[in-house]
Structure formats: structure tokens, C-alpha cells
């Protein structure tokens, strides 16, 4: 009897913690509907521009910066790296079934059925190196960020269409969702507190961007960084801002978060690399 009760407890605990009742399609609908109610005059396609979609003054500054985009050098570096053969003579292209101009970026993140995990573009690029007997790069190595920028640039306009193919993928999605809504750090703030409920409000001198559109434009050149970086670097920064100890870039926590966040952006188009404050 005790065994049965314990099993029941475990089932209930597991399903409630990791969303046995998670319905991604329903979540997506509610998430996007929330933003369309919050910003009724904002066209859906504009969310990919973050703060620049909701604040006219910031937008005009951004448009001026975009006349000479600071991420161009990174795209060039990425292009050279992409075309440079590995020591075995192969290139990165050998690891991807899609040509560059068909939008490799738009296939990530995705659920890897064989390895049962979320694969991000950066992870796929590093695994490609390892498969070709090259050392993996640091996650924020300019070569890797450059490759990501190059591929993102050639994926502009492609729609985000993350799929959740099975229960294991759904579990990863549920973990990403849970992370997004969980309060963290000494400031006791969740991702959603800032970027859902308080999107468009000011936090000191900055305007909080809406979470809808967040995954569309990475890597980004940030004035604060004085350089270009990926989405996971941004996650690290956000966690540090709320005084929570950040997780490893490309680790399971942030990869699942990226999976959830990109799924919430389904229907929008990729527009990276981009410029942000």
C-alpha cells in the first residue's frame, strides 16, 4: 500500500513539476494573445524589433545605428570561418543538410530525437568541429559568434517554427517554461516579471522589451558589451542582474529556455544579427 501511495505521489509530483498537463499550442496562443492585448496597435511582425517596436525615440536612434551596422565585421568573420576548410579538408557545410541561403539558423533550436536534448545552432557548430577532429570553440569565441551571425544574416525573413515532436521534447519545453516563469536571485524576479508583465515599463533608464520576439535577432551587438554575443550570454547577464548565479552557456537549463522562448516566437521571422543597447 505504501509503495502504491509513494508511486502516486511521484507521478503527481513529476507531472505537476514538469508539466504533464503542458499544452504548448495552448501556451503559444495565450502568450501571443497576451501581447496583442497589451500592445493592440503593434503589428505582430514588429515584435522582432524588441524595444524599437514600442518606443519611437529608441527606434529612431536604432535606425541611425543600422545605417552602419556594427555587427557587419562579425558577419564577415563568420563567412571566412564558414568557408575555411578543417584540417581534413571538409567545411562546416558538410555537417548541415541545408545550404546557407536556405536559412540554417531557422532550423534551430530543435529537439534531437537521437540524443534526447535540445540542440542550439552554436552547439551544432561546435559538434561539427568535433566531428571533424577540431577543438570546440568557447561559446563566446568571436569565431563562433561570427558563424552564428553569418548564418543568422542568411536566415533573415525565415519563419520561426520550432516543433515539439514527442513527450521528451515536451518535457524539455516544460522545463524551459518553468525556468522562464520562476523567480530567481536576490531580487526575486523572473524573466516573465520583466519581459511579460512589465514589458514597455522603464527599469531605471531602460525600457523593458517584450518577450515576444526575443529569440528572433541573436546574436546581437550590444553597446553594453561593446561587442557581439549570443542569446545565452544575454541569459547570463539577466540572471546576474537579478543577482542569481547564472548557469553555463549552452547547458541544459539555457538550452531548454531557448527552446521554450523560440517556440513562443513561432510565426515571427528571424532578423539577426541585430543591434541592442
Amino acid at each position: 500500500m505504501k509503495g502504491i501511495l509513494f508511486t502516486c505521489f511521484l507521478v503527481i509530483a513529476t507531472t505537476s513539476a514538469f508539466g504533464g498537463d503542458v499544452n504548448p499550442a495552448q501556451d503559444l496562443n495565450a502568450f501571443q494573445k497576451y501581447f496583442s492585448s497589451k500592445f493592440p496597435n503593434l503589428p505582430f511582425r514588429e515584435y522582432i524589433n524588441g524595444v524599437y517596436a514600442i518606443d519611437a525615440e529608441s527606434r529612431s536612434q536604432w535606425q541611425e545605428i543600422e545605417e552602419f551596422p556594427p555587427y557587419e565585421l562579425s558577419i564577415s568573420e563568420g563567412e571566412s570561418e564558414w568557408k575555411k576548410p578543417f584540417s581534413n579538408g571538409k567545411t562546416y557545410q558538410s555537417c548541415f543538410p541545408w545550404p546557407v541561403n536556405e536559412g540554417i539558423r531557422s532550423h534551430y533550436p530543435h529537439w534531437d530525437v537521437e540524443h534526447k536534448r535540445v540542440v542550439t545552432l552554436e552547439r551544432a557548430l561546435n559538434e561539427c568541429r568535433e566531428a571533424n577532429s577540431e577543438k570546440p570553440l568557447e561559446w563566446e569565441d568571436s569565431k563562433l559568434v561570427g558563424l552564428s551571425a553569418y548564418l543568422a544574416f542568411h536566415s533573415r525573413g525565415k519563419a520561426m517554427n520550432v516543433t515539439i515532436p514527442n513527450e521528451e521534447a515536451k518535457h524539455a519545453y516544460a522545463e524551459g517554461k518553468h525556468f522562464f516563469y520562476t523567480k530567481r536571485g536576490q531580487l526575486n524576479v523572473s524573466c516573465a516579471d520583466c519581459h511579460v508583465y512589465n514589458a514597455s515599463q522603464k527599469i531605471r533608464a531602460d525600457i523593458l522589451s517584450p518577450a515576444l520576439g526575443h529569440a528572433s535577432h541573436f546574436p546581437v551587438y550590444r553597446s553594453e558589451w561593446e561587442g557581439i554575443g549570443g542569446l545565452h550570454r544575454r541569459f547570463v547577464g539577466c540572471n546576474k542582474n537579478v543577482r542569481a548565479k547564472p548557469f553555463q552557456e549552452q547547458g541544459v537549463e539555457y538550452s531548454n529556455l531557448e527552446y521554450f522562448l523560440t517556440y513562443m516566437n513561432n510565426g515571427l521571422s528571424f532578423n539577426g544579427p541585430a543591434v541592442r543597447k
Partner: protein
């Protein structure tokens, strides 16, 4: 036993529990020495590990506990106990934060 008595007993028990839970706050009233610090440090380390294991460690806590150990090594036990105690409380709050967010989800 009438309702008022039951209520009074409950309030007393609850207050006692709260005092017990917050007992390390008595750091200000305790003479801090090597042995007291050692206990605080051990408690802080354990609490931090607990918060870390559930992925809710706060960014400054480990450094705070580390600085407490350095202060103790330099024989500044009063300050060392205060830092270790702060680290202990932070870790407990971080763990509690995890408990309170077990079912976190959208509010719309």
C-alpha cells in the same frame, strides 16, 4: 476548550516555531569565537549546497561565505560570524524561493 483557547494556543505555537526557525538571527547576541564561527560556517556551507543543488544559488552568497572564512582566518570572528550568518540566511531564502516557485507559471 473553547475556540479562543484553541486560537491562542495556535498563535503561541506558531510564534514559537517562527522564533525557532529564525534562531540563527541571534548572532548579534552570541559571543563569536572560533568554535561559534565553525558552526555558522558549516551551517552556511550546507545551506548553500542545498540551494545550489536545486539551481537557486544567489550570485553573491558563495563569495560572502568565502569572505567570512577569510575573516575568521584573520581572527576577526565577530565580522566573520556576521558574514557567515548573512550567507546562511541568503542560502535559506534562495532555497525557500525554489520551494515557492515549484509551480511557477504564467499569470494570464
Amino acid at each position: 476548550m473553547n475556540r479562543f483557547s484553541l486560537f491562542s494556543i495556535s498563535v503561541v505555537l506558531l510564534s514559537w516555531n517562527l522564533c525557532w526557525a529564525a534562531s540563527p538571527a541571534a548572532v548579534d547576541n552570541v559571543q563569536c569565537n572560533e568554535s561559534t564561527f565553525s558552526q555558522y560556517s558549516k551551517d552556511a556551507d550546507e545551506a548553500l549546497k542545498k540551494a545550489k543543488d536545486v539551481g537557486h544559488e544567489w550570485s553573491e552568497t558563495a563569495a560572502l561565505i568565502q569572505s567570512a572564512k577569510q575573516l575568521a582566518a584573520d581572527k576577526h570572528f565577530e565580522e566573520a560570524c556576521k558574514s557567515a550568518h548573512a550567507g546562511l540566511l541568503q542560502s535559506r531564502m534562495a532555497y525557500r524561493q525554489w520551494e515557492e516557485n515549484k509551480n511557477a507559471g504564467p499569470r494570464f
